[in-house]
């Protein structure tokens, strides 16, 4: 088991190096550096620029620059945007807004996916199952932004039911309960869209993984011992079917942080996705790079978490019986 952990950690270290090299390469490929504007200005002595470049390490050989950059990123220093403000506070502020919609939608979608998936697998090929299968299939085929736009038009303008943009209403200074109510109203549409888009793939996964388990011998054994089909599935099947779900669950965790590019863009929700989009439009490369680096590192960590959880949950790996490729 210790050998397994060490091996995995080695693999993750290698991936981390790869990821940072890739991001660093992208950063180098992006046009412009902080001094390209100053160089054209004759009133600034070239010695000053050189001095500053030296200070920032822009003249160092590439590998040194890379190491310095990685250590800065790991300390949470994300550089500056073009107007001279540090990038990190902007990213953190956007992250807070993103959490407002991603955490509820993550919880809802997990709950719905697991419950509906189990129900649908138990009652396989009945009406409910067929309807759910059809709906999930339809959902995967609809672009998120189209769904969101349709909702904006339908709920926001045709029915005048829900607010469709921003965190809260611009008019008036709401306080206390009214403020919370207003915020929740603004959250309804983005959260529902996000929930919908996240549910379908997980639901399909739950259903198929449970269906696979239902055909196993131990479920039949449980039934032979006198349990009803439902009891056998719920007591013996679900536990085993949820094991591979750990991977899916952990793979989805980063969504909480990465936000939703399209949902946030359509609903003008000032989160990470929106910040990313605006940075691209405004060519704020330091923010684009910071977000990419943050995402990659978080995904790396959740993958590690998935590995560890899997190890804890699955005795076959814990006791070293299964050869890992």
């Amino acid at each position: 088991m210790r050998r397994y952990i060490c091996k995995r950690l080695g693999v993750y270290a290698a991936i981390f190096v790869g990821v940072t090299i890739l991001i660093f390469g992208m950063m180098m490929a992006m046009p412009g550096d902080p001094f390209s504007g100053l160089m054209l200005d004759p009133s600034i002595p070239p010695e000053y620029i050189e001095q500053q470049q030296e200070k920032l390490g822009l003249n160092d050989p590439v590998p040194i620059q890379y190491i310095k950059w990685v250590s800065r990123i790991l300390r949470g220093d994300m550089g500056f945007t073009s107007d001279g403000r540090p990038a990190a506070p902007q990213v953190w502020a956007a992250m807070k807004n993103t959490f407002l919609i991603t955490i509820p939608s993550f919880l809802f979608s997990t709950l719905i996916a697991v419950l509906f998936g189990i129900y649908s697998a138990i009652h396989v090929n009945r009406f409910f199952d067929k309807a759910v299968t059809l709906l999930t299939f339809l959902e995967v085929s609809i672009p998120t932004f189209f769904l969101a736009l349709t909702c904006v038009k339908f709920f926001g303008y045709d029915l005048q039911l829900l607010p469709v943009s921003g965190l809260h209403s611009l008019t008036g200074n709401l306080t206390g309960w009214a403020y919370i109510q207003d915020s929740i109203l603004h959250m309804i549409l983005p959260v529902s869209i996000l929930t919908l888009t996240q549910t379908s793939s997980m639901l399909r996964y739950t259903r198929s993984s449970l269906l696979e388990v239902i055909g196993q011998d131990y479920v039949r054994t449980a039934r032979a011992k006198g349990l009803t089909r439902k009891q056998a599935i719920l007591r013996h099947g679900v536990k085993n079917a949820l094991l591979p779900m750990i991977t899916i669950f952990c793979m989805r965790l980063p969504v909480i942080v990465s936000g939703a590019l399209f949902t946030e863009t359509v609903f003008v929700w000032p989160g990470i996705g929106m910040l990313n989009y605006n940075s691209i439009m405004g060519r704020e490369y330091s923010i684009i790079i910071a977000i990419a680096a943050m995402q990659a590192i978080i995904i790396l960590m959740t993958n590690l978490l998935a590995d560890i959880l899997y190890m804890v949950a699955d005795p076959r790996i814990r006791l070293g019986g299964v050869k890992q490729s």
């Binding site: 693999v11 290698a14 991936i15 790869g18 990821v19 890739l22 992208m26 490929a29 992006m30 299939f137 339809l138 995967v140 085929s141 609809i142 672009p143 998120t144 932004f145 189209f146 736009l149 349709t150 904006v152 038009k153 303008y157 980063p254 969504v255 990465s258 590019l261 399209f262 863009t265 359509v266 990313n276 989009y277 691209i280 439009m281 060519r283 490369y285 684009i288 790079i289 977000i291 990419a292 995402q295 990659a296 995904i299 790396l300 993958n303 490729s325």
Partner: protein
Amino acid sequence: MKKLWMRLCQMHGRKELSAEHLSFGQLTIKRFCRDRWAVFGCIVILAVLCIVLAAPVICEYKPETIDKSMIRKAPGEGHILGTDDYGRDVFSRLVYGGRVSMAVAVCATALQLFFGIVLGSFAGYFGKWVDSFIMRVADVFMCFPFYIIAVCLAAILGPGLRNTIIILGFLGWPSLCRMVRAEILSIKENDFIMAAKSLGLSSGEIMFRHILPNVISPIIVSATLSVAGAIMSEASLSFLNLGVKIPQPSWGNMLSSAQSMNTLINEWWRWVPPGLCIIIVILSINYIGEGLRKAMTPKAGE
């Protein structure tokens, strides 16, 4: 003897022994045709392809022609689906946009297949450090949420048809590569590979003549599904103005006009039709993929 055989067949509820004479391909087609949704999807895709390829014949207007006298006209005489804010005919943009979207998807999938199959078979066949290296590179790519890295690359390369294809092709290969590798690993253990080796065949011959034909069915399935994925990604990138550039039409960048509130509320004909087209095409392709998967791996389906 023949009589006895017929009796046996009847006893087992079969008229004659037909299935045994069919090749794998014929069997697949037979099973595929039994899937109503998949056949329906095929018909839809064929129809869309015909329309899109016959674009110059169908469309009265060129998709890029600007007509200042016909700005933002609602659907009606002359313009079946109205016009956009430069007076361009929405219907012909839709048809030509379909051309662009499909072409991007097919080219990107071809790129993905190339990278995925070549790298995956290298990794699976040679094993050892080749395998670890290729798989770590794939892991690195899989460490990014698709849209975040796609958007980064689009910001570096700039928007455009060619760059969109490159981005989608470049980012899509890791999952395919993993699949091909896993399949090859399991096939490599078979005796017929050992036989081929002992006959003195070269690695290339074994890989392409003996291993790849056995991996072809999962590859076909995932290629089909990745065409659908590429249409979706192209539309999404173009929606953010990072994909195919206006004035060249694509379903995605037609939808991006709906980012303006006025268009969204008052001019449905500019964004609903491309959206519906995307949904219908992706849905059909997904059904075809699903049908193919069931037809090629009968155990998983039934």
